[in-house]
């Protein structure tokens, strides 16, 4: 086997606590609470180890990272050990003072989520009144410093008619970059799929409108556009390949290849409380289960695209095909591909609105999808 290249990015999920309750949140349905979270010292050690093994970007995320009182201390430490620090925030919970202190501590980049381009709808989706106004304020703070701002928008049935407007909105906020991602169905999004799934016509229209903004805003904003999976011919290279470039660390210290990896039964992932980050990354059985292409079955095994999309998403393969090593059914070569059209047609015809807001308690009863 070729030697494993060093990881480039780490998503540090500092906490699952969040004042918002987006129905597509990528956090798991069962979320560990504050008591189980790692301490300041534990996180600092992980950032140091990440820098040592070659991680370049540290994404401070959650939940809402500002829910942790030691966010400043952790950011300062990550910057000190040479990591490029990116704060992924809803904006809610940040104060001007904390923001200024984060900047002084070496914060490099802010990624601000928006729920919609329209205030009322945005606040309804996030389940937090006044959230939209708060985001405008935070965007203003970031713009004033001249530091880079990325706007993150997740697209689904409740906001899809304004997908392209969100790009316009991000330009007005002074963002250098927008990530416009059609919902990926895992975590809470899978739970709420019937309320989030747009129709094929809606998806295609939104996709084309966003793409048309590229030429319009060339040199002003970079558009990173994640295509709608359920209406695609081939799957995405999920996480750019399992365990290939990046990893997540959960609030309790588990090291995972992606948000949903723990939904796959019988995979053993290691915890940084017990092992070094280097070992968790290179030797944990869960990471090695789907690294490279050796594990693949047909049709992936003999497919010319296997080093491009790596067979798609393992968690989606499990959720839809019942086998994490199967070809992601999003792929038109999958024998189960017909399921995708059927699910999309069925779910997009359900009436929207009554989604289950993400929440920490009472999640147990909702795990059946």
């Amino acid at each position: 086997m070729k030697p494993l290249p060093p990881p480039t990015g780490m998503l540090a999920e500092l906490t699952y606590r969040c004042p918002l309750s987006c129905p597509y949140c990528s956090n798991p349905l069962e979320m560990a609470g504050r008591d189980a979270e790692m301490s300041t010292q534990e996180w600092k050690r992980i950032f140091s180890q990440a820098a040592e093994i070659g991680v370049l970007h540290a994404h401070l995320s959650g939940g809402e990272p500002a829910s942790r009182r030691d966010l400043l201390e952790l950011t300062a430490h990550a910057a000190q050990v040479g990591l490029y620090t990116n704060l992924i925030t809803s904006g809610v919970g940040l104060t001007k003072k904390l923001f200024d202190d984060l900047v002084a501590a070496g914060l490099d980049h802010v990624q601000l989520s928006i729920q919609d381009a329209e205030p009322e709808s945005a606040d309804a989706i996030g389940g937090y009144r006044g959230g939209f106004a708060k985001k405008l304020e935070v965007a203003q703070w970031v713009a004033e410093t001249g530091m880079p701002l990325t706007v993150n928008a997740v697209i689904h049935r409740l906001n899809i008619s304004r997908a392209a407007e969100m790009v316009d909105f991000a330009v007005r906020l002074g963002a250098r970059r927008i990530e416009i991602a059609h919902t990926q169905y895992y975590g809470w999004a899978l739970r709420n799929r019937a309320h989030l799934m747009p129709t094929r016509a809606q998806s295609e229209k939104a996709y084309a409108e966003v793409e048309a903004r590229r030429a319009l805003y060339k040199g002003r904003i970079v558009i990173d556009h994640v295509a709608p999976d359920y209406h695609a011919k081939y799957p995405k290279a999920c996480m750019s390949g399992w365990g290939r470039l990046t990893f997540n660390v959960t609030p309790t210290g588990k090291v995972l290849p992606c948000h949903a990896a723990e939904t796959i039964p019988n995979l053993e992932f290691w915890n940084t409380r017990e092992k070094s980050l280097a070992d968790c990354w290179s030797d944990s059985p869960g990471f090695n289960a789907f690294r490279g292409t050796e594990w693949m079955k047909e049709p992936c095994r003999s497919c010319e695209r296997k080093n491009e999309d790596f067979g798609g998403c393992r968690c989606q393969a499990l959720a839809l095909a019942g086998d994490a090593a199967a070809t992601d059914p999003i792929c038109s070569k999958s024998p189960l591909h017909h399921l995708i059209g059927e699910i999309a047609a069925r779910d997009s015809s359900e009436k929207g609105g009554d989604f289950t807001p993400r929440r920490m308690a009472a999640a147990k009863a909702l795990t059946d999808v």
Partner: protein, 94 residues
């Protein structure tokens, strides 16, 4: 941006949040930016280290042509190609 917007008088600089780093693990220089990194070859590092917002493009090119004992026109083409690409990725200011 088209290449014409970049004149000999332009004073390029890396935007805030975009920085050069010598990566001890990969043993190479990288350019770090939001959600991106680029591995840099020697000449790219030399170019970007001179993009301090003070030096005009013409002087950067002169300087590099001298250092590499290379044809000025060839150097200028390389410099422009790198800078226009970075400008369009929102990593460079003028």
């Amino acid at each position: 941006m088209s290449e014409d917007d970049l004149t000999g008088e332009s004073r390029p600089y890396l935007l805030r949040g975009v920085r050069l780093k010598h990566d001890q693990v990969r043993k190479c220089w990288v350019l770090l930016a939001p959600e991106r990194f680029l591995r840099l070859n020697g000449i790219s590092v030399d170019i970007l280290q001179r993009c301090d917002g003070g030096a005009p493009l013409a002087r950067i090119v002169d300087d590099l042509a001298e250092k590499y004992q290379a044809d000025r026109a060839v150097v200028e083409r390389d410099v422009r190609a790198l800078l226009v690409g970075l400008y369009d990725k929102r990593m460079l200011g003028l």
